[in-house]
């Protein structure tokens, strides 16, 4: 009798475990790039598996779909994209894969800015927008998995709190730098949102490209531009010849800053493995480079 009861109990437990497992097969999510994938991981937790199509340190602008990408997308429950024209290749990929699931445009409802007459797609570089992204992702996941909606919401609110803390910290650090010193030159146009949020002035590095050999005119114009605009730091990671950048910076009276992460997170070993780490790292790099330049300028009063 006792044995029968035990056996019944055992079976009930087994079936309970079984049904719970069936209910909690993780949602298969494909994200277009690493930053959105990071947010899906944060919000979705154990309830999702996520893979970015464009991986760490890769450039979403020149992405070529691999056969594996097409296969994984076809099998996915949910596709999360940035939108705002960032993934121009996505609609063709969706069509060719025969993907039938839901698509979330994570940037839906963010504050946008214009870039060369179009919407600037790099909206994640503003922490206020980042909160919108995360909430959109949470809503999308909840509609597919209503039973986990509470968990998604709780994780989202905790994360948004972290974003707000980071924003406060960034404002504090950047506030210590006089506004007229917040002038930097980049080879990317990916930091417009960050610049707007914290009062940086961005200048584009023009006249020098990675591929071609530099001309004296190109180098001269760049130095003149740096001098005239009192640029404090250069972030021109595309240029492989670091000696040339050092020369240009020194002659213009600026410093060469480190690498800024724009369109992709770094590898898990890098200092930018997650969005929060990446943002912290970018802010620290910007602030560090400007302070180094200002200290250098005080040391050399003739500049």
């Amino acid at each position: 009798m006792i044995r029968m009861a035990l056996r019944a109990l055992f079976l009930t437990v087994l079936s309970a475990i079984g049904s719970a497992a069936a209910d909690e097969v993780p949602l298969r999510v494909i994200a277009s790039f690493t930053i959105v994938a990071d947010w899906v991981r944060v919000v979705g937790g154990n309830e999702v598996t996520v893979r970015p199509l464009v991986g760490p340190d890769a450039d979403a602008h020149v992405y070529e779909p691999a056969p594996r990408d097409v296969r994984d997308l076809a099998a996915a429950d949910l596709l999360v994209v940035n939108g705002l024209g960032f993934e121009g290749w996505m609609s063709r990929l969706v069509q060719s894969s025969g993907f039938q699931g839901h698509t979330i445009e994570a940037s839906h409802g963010v504050r946008t800015r214009a870039l060369n007459g179009k919407v600037d797609p790099h909206a994640w570089q503003d922490l206020g927008n980042a909160a919108v992204y995360v909430r959109n992702i949470a809503a999308g996941l909840a509609s597919l998995r209503p039973t986990a909606a509470d968990r998604f919401r709780a994780r989202t609110e905790a994360y948004v709190h972290e974003l707000e803390q980071l924003d406060l910290q960034a404002r504090n650090e950047i506030g210590a730098i006089p506004r007229e010193q917040r002038v930097v030159m980049t080879s990317h146009d990916a930091f417009g949102y960050l610049a707007d949020a914290y009062g940086f002035t961005l200048l584009a590095a023009q006249g020098i490209s990675t591929e071609s050999e530099p001309s004296a005119a190109g180098v001269g114009n760049l130095i003149r531009e740096i001098r005239n605009n009192h640029v404090h730091a250069l972030f021109v990671e595309n240029i492989r010849n670091t000696r040339l950048m050092d020369r240009i910076a020194q002659e213009g009276g600026a410093t060469v800053g480190g690498r800024l992460y724009s369109d992709a997170l770094g590898s898990p070993q890098s200092p930018a493995a997650t969005f929060l780490q990446m943002y912290r790292y970018n802010i620290a790099t910007l602030v560090g480079a400007i302070q180094a330049s200002a200290a250098g300028a005080r040391a050399r009063p003739h500049h």
């Binding site: 071609s212 050999e213 530099p214 001309s215 004296a216 005119a217 190109g218 180098v219 001269g220 130095i223 492989r240 010849n241 000696r243 040339l244 050092d246 020369r247 240009i248 002659e251």
Partner: protein, 290 residues
């Protein structure tokens, strides 16, 4: 007006002045090495050397990572080994220097490509080694000027045996001087000068300024000491003109400097005062008319 065109770029920008100083230092060494190189029929050695540095750079990278110094040291050692092995072969056998150099540098290049892919670098090692004339830093200036100084003083020491070795090897041997030792010393100097040039100014510039001014000078004089002077003059003109061209026309500096040197060569071939096409034609006409 003329002041604006010729001087303002150099007055306004330190990188232009640095480029000019580095070129001048390079030309000083080259103006002596170049004519001797032509006299010894070794003009193409420079191109071979540009590839021969690869295995050394790769080994340097494998040992010490992306360090400019270890890679340069490796590059110099590899290039010197290639040069010395090729010279030994051509001295010990009937094979000419161009053939032995061609053979040995290809082997070195293959080893280099192999090592680079084994060490797993997608990084372009040579790109790190090869500089540009527009980005000469203090280290670079010291390197080029130091190399030129060493080259000129060493050449002064071995000058006589070197010239005799070019003209009459047996006579040199009868004096008890090893022609081989003199030759190896000369080859090492050429390699040092080239590799320093690669690193500071780029391959094209380094090889171009070694060969073209000296080759052009030959159409103006046959005296060796005068050749040195004319080669120096041409080299300096090419550097100055090329930098200005690059500044005013917005074209890459390395090719601009080499092309000005190339134009000087072309002018010399056509209208030089010594064995040029114009003079040869005139002489033939004279012969016909008399």
């Amino acid at each position: 007006m003329l002041h604006d065109i010729l001087l303002t770029p150099f007055l306004e920008f330190a990188f232009m002045r640095r480029a000019l100083v580095a070129c001048t230092a390079l030309c000083l060494g080259n103006s002596v090495l170049g004519p001797l190189l032509i006299l010894r029929r070794m003009t193409l050695v420079g191109d071979a050397m540009a590839h021969a540095v690869l295995p050394g750079a790769a080994v340097g990278f494998m040992i010490a990572g992306l360090s400019l110094w270890s890679m340069s040291l490796g590059g110099v050692l590899a290039a010197v080994s290639v040069a010395v092995i090729a010279s030994l072969i051509s001295r010990g056998t009937t094979q000419r220097e161009d053939a032995s150099f061609g053979a040995v540098y290809l082997v070195a290049l293959a080893i280099g490509v192999l090592l680079v892919s084994v060490s797993g670098g997608r990084i372009d090692l040579l790109h790190l080694l090869f500089g540009t004339v527009l980005a000469v830093d203090n280290e670079g200036l010291i390197l080029v000027a130091g190399t030129s100084t060493v080259v000129l003083f060493t050449l002064a020491l071995i000058y006589r045996p070197l010239i005799v070795d070019c003209l009459d090897r047996r006579y040199l041997a009868s004096l008890g001087v090893s022609g081989m030792a003199v030759h190896v010393a000369f080859v090492v100097l050429v390699v040092l000068n080239l590799v320093a040039g690669f690193q500071v100014l780029g391959t094209l510039m380094s090889v171009g300024l070694l060969v073209l001014p000296s080759a052009a000078a030959r159409f103006w004089t046959t005296r060796l000491d005068a050749l040195f002077a004319v080669a120096l003059l041409f080299g300096l003109c090419a550097s100055f003109g090329g930098l200005l061209l690059s500044y005013h026309l917005d074209v890459p500096s390395g090719p601009a400097i080499v092309l000005v040197a190339g134009s000087l060569y072309l002018i010399s071939v056509l209208g030089g005062s010594c064995d040029s096409i114009l003079l040869t034609r005139l002489a033939r006409l004279k012969v016909k008319n008399t």
